[in-house]
Assembly symmetry: C2
């Protein structure tokens, strides 16, 4: 049998061999392919040729294959070799509505938006006329409860870097009790020295990922390869709970584990504060994504919020990956039942631009303290506005909950069927993951085998497969994924 016929047959078999009954697609405003279709090795010959070209200009170790974005549609990503993937990773969780969504194409086809795209302003100095309205219709339309202010930024790392700075400034402004900075502070800061550049710290958690610029990287602890060789700062790092799944079957021991971690948070506050290195804030992800999809309970986060309050530290929730409806709520922290909202919430990825929401207290007290040339881009707000409208009009949060339930139930079924291969299926909405019993090598093989069957997924942590589909991912897509996983595991068993 030729390689082509073999791969074709293998990719189509997951559709023929239907183990799950495909639910009727919901009425969503998108055209799609009927299913994945793999014609070549992955990467295919054209991708391999382009990779050679690219590698002459830049390192490209991370390239999976080259894409034909014009032909990609909805949940389906098309590569340059004509392979069609059902994409449940969506550009590292950054496309909210899949490929070529009509609502986004409409924004770009509107001649009124052309000047926004071609004349990128210094947004802090010279905003376009429609900027206040755009902010209102996009970011503020989905602002977390209690957070009345927003700053726009270009990406996730910039969002966290600037949120950290806002926290340090807020802390020192409180310390001064309204007095202006001293001449000594103004002089010493210019040379990176205390008291102007004070020994302040920010608490983060083991396993966290908050970005890769030097400030963010000091709070990132997911993989050594991200941090190795880069100088960093002595900031407190608390243990993130290592829970047992399913959560509901291990309540007592998980509670004890969360208690242990929260005790450490207390201890670190006391230790660093008493060492003259005050902890000004705590940064946490609602689910540690890059770190391996590690969950904690709503109670853990409520208590963490209360501890931050107790020590007069800011509580920063990093929703760069968990935000924008993927958990079935717009923000993952909506699910915690907080009485006292976070002080700062950062976003990027599926919001299509970055930034942070914050309470009134965290407004900069003077100009040019939180600033850069571009401060994001108005065209991203125009796209974000279309995303917000589409999610509301098409009730996509409900779609996420339905499709997520099908996917998670199916994965739980598969881990029962293949207990020596899969465990710990877990998730919120379509933000779903499962661990590979055989560790990293097995995980990588499953992800690669899924790709060969036309399912584009991703890894995280050491041995986890993560699903990060778009908000238009539907139950029948979930069933295609489950069939492909079933087949891959049957072949590997």
């Amino acid at each position: 049998m030729s390689l082509l016929r073999k791969t074709l047959q293998s990719s189509l078999s997951s559709l023929k061999q239907v183990r799950h009954v495909l639910a009727a697609p919901k009425k969503l405003s998108l055209e799609e392919f009927d299913g994945p279709c793999i014609k070549t090795d992955i990467p295919g010959p054209k991708s391999q040729e382009l990779l050679r070209e690219l590698t002459a200009l830049t390192t490209a170790h991370e390239v999976q294959f080259f894409c034909n974005y014009e032909e990609s549609k909805g949940n389906y990503l098309v590569d340059v070799d004509g392979n069609i993937f059902l994409d449940i990773y969506m550009q590292i969780s950054s496309l909210p509505l899949g490929y070529n969504h009509p609502a986004l194409l409409k924004v770009l086809n509107d001649p009124a938006n052309l000047s926004t795209l071609v004349n990128r302003p210094a947004l802090g100095n010279l905003p376009p006329a429609d900027f206040p309205q755009r902010v209102q219709n996009s970011l503020m339309a989905v602002a977390p409860k209690g957070l009345t202010n927003v700053k726009t930024m270009a990406c996730g790392s910039c969002s966290n870097e600037n949120a950290y700075k806002a926290i340090f400034m807020w802390y020192m402004t409180k310390q001064r009790g309204g007095a202006p900075p001293s001449p000594e502070e103004l002089e010493t800061c210019m040379f990176n020295k205390s008291p102007g550049a004070p020994d302040l710290t920010l608490m983060s958690f083991t396993g966290a990922f908050h970005g890769r610029t030097l400030g963010c990287l000091a709070t990132t602890h997911s993989k050594a390869i991200h941090k190795l060789d880069i100088p960093s700062m002595d900031w407190p790092i608390a243990p993130f709970p290592q829970l047992k799944y399913p959560l509901e079957e291990h309540e007592a021991e998980n509670r004890a584990e969360e208690r242990r971690c929260l005790d450490q948070v207390h201890a670190l506050f006391r230790e660093y504060n008493s060492r003259g290195r005050p902890v000004c804030g705590v940064v946490v992800e609602p689910v540690q994504a890059e770190g391996g999809d590690n969950h904690a309970s709503p109670q853990f986060f409520r208590e963490l919020r209360a501890i931050a309050r107790e020590y007069d530290a800011a509580f920063l929730v990093d929703e760069v990956q968990t935000g924008v409806g993927v958990t079935g709520s717009w923000w993952a922290h909506d699910l915690w039942g907080l009485d006292d909202p976070p002080d700062v919430v950062t976003f990027a990825k599926k919001m299509l631009g970055g930034g942070y929401f914050h309470t009134e207290e965290f407004r900069a007290t003077s100009g040019y303290r939180i600033f850069n040339t571009w401060l994001g881009e108005p065209s991203k707000l125009a796209l974000c506005e279309a995303v917000v409208k589409t999610v509301q009009e098409e009730n996509l949060l409900e779609n996420v909950r339905q499709a997520g339930a099908v996917l998670l139930d199916g994965l739980k079924h598969l881990q029962t069927k293949y207990p020596t291969q899969l465990e710990n299926a877990r998730g919120l909405g379509t933000f779903i993951a499962i661990d590979c019993v055989g560790g990293e090598a097995q995980r990588n093989k499953i992800v690669a085998d899924l790709k060969r069957k036309g399912i584009q997924s991703g890894g995280c942590g050491e041995r986890t497969i993560r699903c990060r589909p778009a908000l238009i991912f539907q139950p029948h897509h979930a069933e295609m994924v489950l069939n492909a996983v079933d087949e891959v595991l049957a072949e590997q068993a």
Copy 2:
């Protein structure tokens, strides 16, 4: 006389009272206004109303006025109140071809580019088919001599942050002599501790500006307000030469000042290296822009490059503001006559996206070390490609040299005419600045008065006015600027 008539008259008078003969416009492919036209106070009533709306959602201390980007053309920025400014600041030096340039509109009107705009990829994992060719036609078409590699990033700060990381990784890779990292390094880096997160340093200069994220900020020393309250790192900071202008009239004392600074560079290398805090690299701007348009001689930079080489440190040239033709060369460091090129050159602003060029030695040795979700954006490369082509086809570097000569000669003439108000006119190409004898308050008044006459300029340092026009700024525009400056000074005298 009504306010409206008064402001109208004042704004037009600079055109009537022609002190410089206007040169015939060159044949550039752009439509423009005949000159500035100011109808209201600045900010005008519509801008003031929008500012109130925006301030409810976010701090907006830095807003000058709101713009009508659709109506803006070439060198002219139009605001929401219908005022027309001749713009010599160009969105903090970030628009290469002015407003609504036909070459850029063409890129966005091309349906083939639509999918690039709407499907922003995770560029490191899944680049579009045309990515290698785009990189070749845009970034590599203007790569600095000797720099064969490029990494794309989203903005200037990200470019510098990642260039710093590349330098630290390069340094440690050399230290290991090809051996893999030790288990101890891999463990300690996860907790921000040495040896995995080693005590490495990067040298910068007083007065420098390299960005505002925490790594960049440790090398930025231009204004206290940027740095106050933010924890930083003990990295060496060398004095940047404080030269006397015009440079050619103070050669001996300027040489001595540069000598003094280079001696300090040597001393800092020895001090930090002997303290076990190795200096892995030196970062420098060809002209310190934000810091006050501080120049140094080609010889200074050649010697600095040689010193970095002597101590086995990387030499990083930050061309975020000086790049893209504004000095009359594509890169400002082209003017230094280096035999030994820089190791790394960063860019952003007028390149329309960020990134850094580097030599072969600075390629990451494995995947995911220099990485983030977006790694810039392919649509910015499409625009950059159009910029590169337009600059070449329209010979805009020659245009910059001609317009810059008119502007600089005129400012030198004006500082002779108003010696108690202006001094130190200096520049390369149209990257031109002049100091206000009366200090910051006078500088701010001149910038504000120029705005009222329809000239949009900017400040830098403590008492400097900076000109950062687009590459399409022509001799007749320069003469309008000179006439307006002349008038403002005559009124203030």
